[in-house]
């Protein structure tokens, strides 16, 4: 299977109107079940809370009172980042998680045995195991739709084009232009998140334009895929195993007694 250009999302949160059409379109297309009890959260208009096995698009709401600039209400649609260096994929022992010809990261539901290792591995807290099902689920970037030449459901539904789908390179250019024009218009806070291929996850297949620091939206400011440190980890394991062997050997140095 020949890979084409890498496809992904650019989510421009500066034009998000918090309508949650993305959440609903995603659930309808992918038949994702209701996520938890129907209970008001008390956290602004966000009753969804976070991404999870049964929520693959999550709109965050942050109300900010800024003395010099008055009230601001940030809204942002979060999604799986489809990392270039995807920890979930690296740690998956069964190979259920794989990288598609579009460069996206997808869980094969017929392979996943629910070991749950991907869950704490994700630096963004995206993937999770569905309790009543046993398997892990997350955004597929509408793999089935991409195979038929369509755009993902959330991108299609988004009325203001906050969610843009396309070739990642082209999205990068568009995003940089957008940040520049926002800066020119006096929106100094605008910045790109996960667009830099030099970052800890190798850049994301789904990157963002944010209007404040990532942690304000519940995102890690400087995420690193755990696999980056794997050589160190294995070295430590080897040394420890060696130490254990030495300890056992030493225990016999004193003889039987």
């Amino acid at each position: 299977m020949t890979a084409g250009p890498r496809m992904g999302f650019f989510t421009d949160t500066s034009v998000c109107i918090g309508c949650k059409a993305c959440e609903v379109a995603c659930k309808e297309w992918n038949m994702v079940p209701q996520d938890g009890p129907l209970r008001l959260s008390g956290t602004s208009y966000d009753n969804t809370g976070a991404l999870g096995a049964s929520t693959w698009r999550h709109v965050a709401f942050v109300e900010q009172q800024r003395d010099d600039q008055g009230l601001r209400w940030l809204m942002s649609s979060d999604v799986c980042k489809h990392c270039s260096s995807a920890a979930c994929l690296e740690v998956c022992p069964t190979g259920a998680l794989f990288r598609t010809e579009f460069g996206t990261v997808v869980v094969q539901a017929d392979v996943c045995n629910g070991c749950g290792y991907c869950v704490p591995a994700c630096p963004f807290g995206v993937i999770d195991r569905r309790e009543d099902d046993g398997r892990a689920f997350k955004c597929t970037l509408c793999y089935d739709r991409l195979r038929d030449g369509l755009e993902p459901a959330c991108a299609k539904a988004c009325p203001t084009d906050s969610i843009q789908f396309g070739e990642l390179d082209e999205l990068h250019e568009r995003a940089r232009r957008r940040v520049d024009s926002l800066h020119e218009a006096g929106v100094a806070d605008a910045r790109l998140y996960l667009e830099d291929e030099g970052d800890g996850i190798g850049g994301a297949g789904a990157f963002f334009l944010l209007l404040d620091e990532p942690e304000v939206y519940g995102l890690p400011p400087d995420p690193v895929s755990t696999t980056r440190d794997l050589p160190t980890l294995w070295r430590a394991a080897a040394l420890a195993a060696g130490t254990l062997a030495v300890a056992v050997a030493a225990a016999f140095a004193g003889g039987r007694r």
């Binding site: 034009v15 109107i17 949650k20 209701q34 959260s41 209400w73 940030l74 203001t160």
Partner: protein, 845 residues
């Protein structure tokens, strides 16, 4: 707009990307405010003061678009010398009769030009506005005789306007609206700076303006501003009315309103319109396109009655029902309570949740003999007899409710063909995607077959009262097993058919001799060339920026109305940048980016001869072709029940006394005070807070289509109220906790959201707190809760009988509400306390 029209809001976002400035004036900071350049928090119910302040700013600073105002509005007209303004009569206009509680508008006339008396309207307590449909009011033939083009005469409209709004200073705006002076001036300046030849500004409003006791006057004030700034009929200008849901525009065009016939023809009034001749005499205007209304009405009658309608029987005009009074919904509901309204059809509506004073509606329905509910789901209005809040309090007992309720399942819009007509008058066809399940049927199927069965039962009857039903032309083609009537055939009938049996191209082809038939004159042409024009879907990228080949706009696929005003009196565009429609002298016709809303070959320098009729009676410099004088009315000499100029009155339930006049509220307000519909006194210490009801993106109106779906219910699962941190502290409310909101009608409970987006305002030297309440919740479905509209009073704007749902008062208590009869005691206790207070002044009658 982002909350309630998120898909439409994409165009605001696009405009912003192209450099437009977006200003959002709203009591709450909503998702629209989040993307606006400026949010102006305003006290709910004080918009006329705010807009009046802008009018004053324009006039005092000489910021009006002078040439536009002089030529295209009635600014020059001198008004009758008997006219007195609210400035003279402390809040009243001349002509108020305290006995009847109504105005006689004759002193509002243009000097030397009486308004045709409208005895029919007086008799039936029907508002003047309704009696003329959309044709404005009647003036005697010709142009007003007394004019001052220099706009200096003390009684010319321009000067009357100045005088009326002189007191609406920035300081007054701050005092009444709670909007800081500097912020108000920022808005006023931005508007002025962005209007004129080179630039235009647009207003968008929705139910936040219409649901007021002075709602029509709110919109009038915006119209005055836009006329003064020259923003009407021009690209990027205008006033966009965002409707309440998908096809409500269609349901006023082909009306489900008691007082209108299709195309805004007035329903005949008993005593005034007892014959076709009397009707046409009264309704027809001497000039403008409303002068052709004989062709519209007669073609409509031919569509209704087919071959039965003939010249010798006045085209069955007598078969049309005649109004004897105000037959709008609230009198009907009072009729249910009083026992003379026995039966009710509820089609896609849920008054048990969505109507003001919903509890009274539930009690009213409990008095009916029979009730037919057609809906997609089992709405609260169908189940009230077993689970309404009144069952819980003991006010109603299931065993004692006599109402026989029929719940008939309805087909959804995906299960039938049809059109939506949106707020831009755009008809868009939609096609059935799946068959309706089980017994679900479309409304078209229901009414067609209901009519068919009734006619079968009545067949052969000699009773005169059965003739209207039997004479109907009721032969629509049907399709399929279910015998679904063809919606396309109905649309074609609406678009009109000529003598040759071919579909018409537009209303100019309609005749008054019975040779044409047309279900709605403004829709005429929707099936031109036998093509369903509403079904056109040429992508925007493949056509001009006006995109005339997407759908079809009424009338004549005209995308901006009154677009003659986009050119100067000589017919040249005001500027290159804002070029839209202009006069081509070589061709001798109007041309441009849109269908000209003007006589195609009427030259700018045309002056009508005395015997000219209809649109030919207007000169070439009068763009407002539906008005008898062809001008935009800054001053409305007739047509409105509550005054020719918008004036700030307090909402009937207000925390403060009107600082402008002794008159507290709209003097012609429609009140329905009775047990069960008591009002909070103004400036009451018992109900000290303002509350406003509104919508959320996640839910749809009374919740039938959203609270029954898991995906939407989990987005907004519970009823909540939005309060400022200051109000929360004042009343001991906790974020995520509970609050009970109380009015004279009801008490409900809601979860609490404490947010900076609600702001206390400084009004008349004191702090006024506002409470926000989404109105979507009811007891049925997945996401359930108490309904906000239980709290509302039934109190209406007199022109259109629309209730005040946006600016009312309440009390807020921490914690959940009592259950059972204790709930009624809580409400009654508050009412008694309010009655014992000495409330402030107010010159109400």
């Amino acid at each position: 707009m982002a909350e309630c029209h998120p898909v439409g809001f994409q165009w605001v976002v696009e405009a912003k990307a192209r450099g437009a400035k977006v200003i959002h004036v709203d009591p709450r900071f909503t998702r629209t405010s989040a993307l606006a350049d400026l949010h102006v928090p305003i006290r709910a119910g004080s918009d006329i003061a705010f807009l009046g302040g802008i009018v004053n700013h324009i006039l005092e600073g000489g910021r009006e678009f002078r040439e536009y105002v002089v030529n295209y509005t009635n600014a020059q007209v001198i008004v009758d010398e008997d006219f007195r303004d609210t400035e003279d009569l402390d809040g009243l206009f001349s002509g108020f009769d305290p006995g009847t509680g109504r105005y006689d508008p004759s002193s509002w006339n243009y000097a030397g030009m009486p308004v045709a008396t409208n005895t029919g309207a007086r008799k039936g307590r029907i508002a003047a506005g309704e009696a003329h449909g959309s044709g404005g009011a009647k003036l005697a033939h010709g142009n007003p005789p007394h004019l001052d083009p220099a706009l200096e005469h003390p009684r010319c409209v321009f000067q009357l306007l100045k005088r009326h709004y002189r007191r609406y200073t920035p300081e007054l705006v701050e005092q009444v609206c709670g909007v800081p002076r500097a912020q108000f001036l920022e808005v006023a300046e931005a508007l002025c700076a962005n209007s004129g030849r080179e630039r235009t500004s647009a207003f968008c409003y929705a139910v936040g303006w219409t649901h007021h006791s002075t709602g029509v006057q709110y919109i009038r004030t915006a119209a005055i501003i836009q006329l003064l700034l020259g923003n009407i009929g021009r690209p990027g200008g205008g006033i966009m009315a965002l409707r309440g849901h998908a096809s409500i525009q269609g349901s006023t065009d082909i009306p489900t309103l008691y007082n209108l016939l299709p195309g805004y023809l007035t329903m005949p009034i008993a005593g005034s319109h007892d014959s076709l001749e009397q009707y046409l005499e009264d309704v027809r205007l001497p000039a403008g396109f409303w002068g052709r209304c004989d062709t519209y009405l007669i073609s409509l009658l031919k569509a209704y009655f087919g071959d039965r309608a003939a010249a010798n029987n006045d085209f069955c005009f007598d078969h049309l029902p005649k109004l004897t009074g105000n037959h709008s919904i609230f009198p009907a509901v009072m009729g249910m309570l009083d026992g003379w309204c026995k039966g009710f059809f509820l089609v896609g509506e849920n008054p048990a949740v969505g109507s003001p004073n919903a509890g009274l509606h539930r009690k009213a329905m409990a008095r009916l003999d029979w009730l037919v509910v057609r809906d997609l789901v089992e709405v609260e209005s169908a189940t009230f007899w077993r689970d309404s809040p009144e069952i819980e309090t003991g006010e109603l007992r299931t065993g004692e409710i006599p109402t026989e309720v029929f719940l008939l399942p309805a087909a959804a819009h995906t299960e039938k063909d049809g059109t939506f007509t949106n707020t831009q008058r755009l008809l868009q066809w939609h096609r059935k995607a799946v068959e309706p399940p089980g017994d679900c049927r479309s409304d078209l199927w229901f009414y067609y077959h209901l009519g068919r069965r009734i006619r079968e039962k009545l067949a052969g009857s000699a009773e005169p009262r059965d003739r209207p039903v039997l004479d109907l032309a009721w032969d629509y083609p049907t399709e399929g097993e279910l015998q679904e009537p063809s919606a396309a055939a109905v649309l074609r009938e609406i678009g009109g058919v000529g003598a040759d049996g071919k579909a018409l191209s537009g209303y100019l082809e309609l005749k008054a001799d019975g040779s044409t038939s047309c279900g709605c004159w403004i829709y005429s042409g929707v099936y031109a060339d036998e093509v369903n024009q509403a079904d056109r879907r040429k992508p925007g990228s493949d056509q001009s920026w006006v995109a005339p080949e997407w759908g079809w706009a009424w009338p004549y696929n005209r995308r901006i109305l009154y677009n003659r005003a986009s050119a100067d009196p000589q017919g040249r565009p005001w500027s290159e940048r804002k070029r839209y429609v202009w006069w081509d002298p070589a061709e001798g016709r109007w041309t441009g980016h849109d269908n000209p809303d003007f006589g195609a070959t009427t030259a700018p320098d045309y002056d009508p001869p005395d015997d000219a009729e209809a649109e030919k009676a207007l000169d070439g410099r009068s763009p407002f072709v539906m008005q008898a004088d062809g001008k935009g009315w800054l001053f409305a000499p007739s047509g409105l029940d509550d005054g020719p100029l918008p004036t700030h009155y307090e909402p009937p339930e207000s925390p403060v006394i009107n600082p402008l006049y002794g008159r507290q509220t709209n003097p012609v307000l429609e009140r329905y005070e009775r047990p069960g519909n008591r009002y909070n006194p103004p400036a009451s210490g018992t109900y000290p807070f303002v509350f406003t009801t509104y919508r959320l993106t996640e839910h749809h109106t009374a919740g039938g289509m959203s609270r029954t779906l898991g995906y939407l219910s989990e987005l907004q699962p519970e009823m909540f109220c939005e309060v400022s941190p200051e109000l929360a502290r004042l009343r001991g409310l906790v974020n995520g906790g509970w609050a009970t909101i109380v009015t004279s009608r009801a008490a409900i409970e809601a979860r609490v959201l404490v947010t900076d987006r609600m702001r206390p305002l400084q009004v008349e030297g004191r702090v006024v707190h506002q409470v926000g309440l989404p109105y979507h919740w009811g007891r049925n479905g997945l996401a359930t809760g108490d309904g906000a509209n239980d709290l509302l009073p039934i109190l209406c704007d007199p022109n259109v009988h629309i209730m005040e749902s946006k600016a009312n008062t309440c009390d807020v208590l921490p914690g959940r509400r009592p259950r059972g009869p204790a709930l009624v005691e809580l409400v009654e206790g508050h009412r008694a306390r309010a009655a014992r207070e000495r409330s402030g002044g107010g010159g109400d009658r």
